[in-house]
């Protein structure tokens, strides 16, 4: 009986300490950054110049980075972000040519398997591990996981990766 009592009191104290810690040191996450991050396509392809989507979102909010840098999202995304951040006259404030890029989210890529030399460059650059294969053997794309960011296209030495629209 006493053992149970001791342990229950102990757990109560620990609970109070934990809740106090949670109260005094809350996990800080900027809600605007999260909102922008939710809009980004999460391809994590680093074509915007940042290491992933979350850093880019952070840069947009904190360092007022240009909002038209995400290539897979295209101009649609630019307008969406502009709406969240209450930026008016997006077309005027950005280059008109840059705002017209096409959305690439719903595309996937396909490897021409005959020409693949198996250098595995594409696989090491794919941010979502959608390419499988081992060095010196044929590589192939898992269509289901491909985000269509087209990073792999830039790294293939034999130009055997093609874009297909879904």
């Amino acid at each position: 009986m006493t053992v149970i009592l001791i342990f229950s009191i102990l757990s109560l104290f620990l609970g109070i300490i934990l809740s106090y810690i949670k109260y005094s040191f809350p996990i800080k996450k900027n809600s605007v950054v999260v909102a922008v991050d939710n809009l980004l396509p999460q391809s994590q392809c680093a074509q915007c110049g940042y290491s992933g989507c979350y850093p880019y979102a952070k840069a947009i909010v904190k360092d007022s980075e240009n909002i038209n840098k995400c290539i897979p999202g295209g101009s649609d995304l630019t307008f969406k972000i502009a709406k969240v951040l209450n930026i008016e006259n997006v077309e005027k404030s950005l280059d008109s040519s840059a705002t017209k890029n096409e959305k690439k989210i719903y595309t996937t890529v396909l490897i021409d398997e005959k020409n693949c030399v198996g250098c595995s460059k594409c696989a090491s650059f794919c941010p979502v591990d959608a390419i499988i294969g081992s060095p010196n053997f044929m590589h192939t794309v898992l269509q289901k996981f491909c985000t269509g960011c087209n990073i792999c296209l830039l790294h293939c030495p034999t130009n055997c990766i093609k874009i297909i629209k879904e």
Partner: protein, 517 residues
């Protein structure tokens, strides 16, 4: 008197004056050409089995099928005249391959494999036969029955046989039940044996008194079967509403009736399952109701082969399909305008509705007057009035809260609306947007989870690499020390050699000095 089941909302419709001729089955001669449409996409393996110019027999499979697409069969004997491929259309659900088959009017069948005692087969093999016969839900959903049955094994306790046609002009299923009730009951038993259900409920509307008496007589001494009578109201045929009115339970969006333990099949599907297992016939024909609104006499039921062009069907019945007539697939409430008359009868078309086009009587859309008629009429307890408001303002979050995806597009709210607002048109757009949002969110979740997995993998690899590195470092050190030793040895040797060389040089110098003397 038996209990009559009912549901909230819906509209009672006056049944159209029935012509006794409606319940006889009429046959249609074979047309010259059949058009078969096949779904195709890059990512699925639904491959063709035939070539241009090849001879085909009646019931020969034309495609291999996929796990979501059942094979398609030739409705006639003849030869393949042409195969068109239309990859341009961006719509994912659209059929992209069109096969033209020229009929030779002989109707030679392939050899059919009949089964007398289906109980000697395992459920899996029976499901395989059903898959190979190309049977899909003939009520309208076109969901492969084989898939439904595989999902339902050991999960359902009740089979609901849906014999309801709530649309006032449709009589195809009723006609089938009148003529082939014994075969349908055998089909029920087959399905019950496959998915091991304990009850079979046959659901019929109250006004089909003749049929009710007939079925009651047959199933009197059978424990398995039960007859349920439902109020004549639109819409009763939808499986969601059917289950709700029979059991009082609601199926939320994204769940299937199988998850609740109910397996719902249309009578026509059950008939097709019986034909495919006992007689070995693949699904190549179905009953279609033709309903001509202006000439009520012409409403009849026909056995039509799947793939018959719609213009042939209309020509045979001497319906002129000019600009003054509108032709819909589906009934009065749920209908889609057929634009292309070269389109053919599909597996899910159960009614063709012909109507005169009255141009002068154009409906004007008035603003919503908040009368609330639609809210009372909606059979699934939605709020069409508010949904319409948010659809117009495209407030997607509010639409999700109002469960717009639960709407079954029954068009009841549209029919009762006094301001002539085409509500369902708005809801369809809203639903499409909702679905796209959901898909996109799912993709994003998948991608970010994949990215995190990759980072984890890279971290682990790095760890392994470094731990390996330490080992290799030790080895390297080892090798280094060894080579150093070797070098030392070599240097010692060199020193000795150098010494000896110097000695020899000295000797030679001494010799030369001696010689000079």
């Amino acid at each position: 008197m038996k209990k009559k089941y009912n549901f909230k909302g819906g509209i009672q419709c006056i049944s159209i004056k029935k012509d006794p001729r409606e319940y006889f089955l009429n046959y249609l001669p074979d047309p010259e050409k059949f058009f078969i449409y096949i779904k195709y996409s890059h990512f699925k393996k639904n491959r063709l089995r035939v070539k241009v110019g090849q001879e085909v027999l009646c019931g020969q499979p034309l495609t291999f099928g996929d796990d979501l697409i059942v094979p398609v069969h030739s409705p006639t004997s003849g030869w393949i005249k042409n195969i068109y491929f239309n990859p341009k259309s961006s719509d994912k659900n659209q059929e992209k391959i069109k096969i033209v088959i020229l009929s030779n009017h002989l109707n030679k069948w392939i050899r059919l494999k009949t089964i007398k005692n289906y109980k000697t087969y395992t459920p899996q093999s029976l499901i395989k036969i059903i898959y190979q016969s190309g049977i899909v839900g003939l009520g309208g959903a076109q969901f492969p029955s084989s898939k439904k049955l595989t999902l339902s094994i050991n999960k359902v306790h009740t089979l609901i046989v849906n014999g309801i046609e709530s649309e006032p002009c449709m009589t195809a299923d009723y006609c089938l039940m009148q003529n082939y009730i014994n075969e349908i009951l055998i089909g029920c038993k087959i399905v019950a044996w496959i998915s091991k259900v304990k009850d079979i409920l046959i659901v019929i509307q109250e006004d089909k008194t003749e049929l009710i008496l007939k079925i009651q007589k047959i199933i009197e001494n059978k424990q398995l079967f039960k007859l349920c009578i439902i109020r004549k109201k639109y819409p009763g045929g939808s499986s969601k509403i059917l289950i709700k009115s029979l059991t009082g339970k609601e199926i939320p969006y994204g769940k299937h009736s199988i998850d609740m333990g109910y397996l719902v099949f249309n009578v026509a599907t059950i008939y097709a399952i019986k034909r495919s297992i006992i007689n070995g016939e693949p699904l190549i024909k179905r009953i279609v109701t033709l309903y001509n609104k202006d000439k009520n006499i012409l409403s009849k039921n026909f056995w039509v082969k799947i793939g018959t062009p719609i213009h042939f069907f209309l020509n045979y019945l001497k319906i002129d399909s000019n600009l003054n007539t509108l032709i819909y697939s589906g009934g009065v409430f749920m209908r889609y305008l057929i634009v292309n008359l070269n389109y053919s009868i599909q597996k899910n078309m159960n009614c063709i509705y012909v109507k005169k086009n009255k141009k002068n009587k154009k409906k004007i859309e008035y603003p919503c007057i908040n009368c609330g008629y639609c809210v009372h009429a909606c059979p699934v307890n939605l709020l069409p009035q508010e949904m319409f408001l948010y659809c117009k303002n495209s407030d997607n979050q509010k639409l999700k809260q109002l469960n717009i995806l639960d709407c079954i597009e029954c068009t009841v709210c549209e029919k009762v609306c006094p301001s002539n607002i085409p509500l369902v048109k708005y809801f369809r757009i809203g639903k499409k947007i909702q679905k796209n949002i959901d898909i996109e969110n799912d993709r994003k979740k998948l991608f970010s989870s994949l990215f995190r997995k990759r980072e984890k993998r890279l971290l682990i690899e790095k760890k392994i690499f470094y731990s390996k590195d330490q080992i290799s470092n030790i080895k390297k050190l080892d090798i280094f020390s060894r080579t150093q030793e070797k070098e030392e040895n070599n240097s010692i040797n060199q020193k000795i050699i150098e010494k000896s060389l110097r000695k020899e040089m000295l000797k030679e110098a001494i010799k030369r000095a001696k010689l000079k003397r």
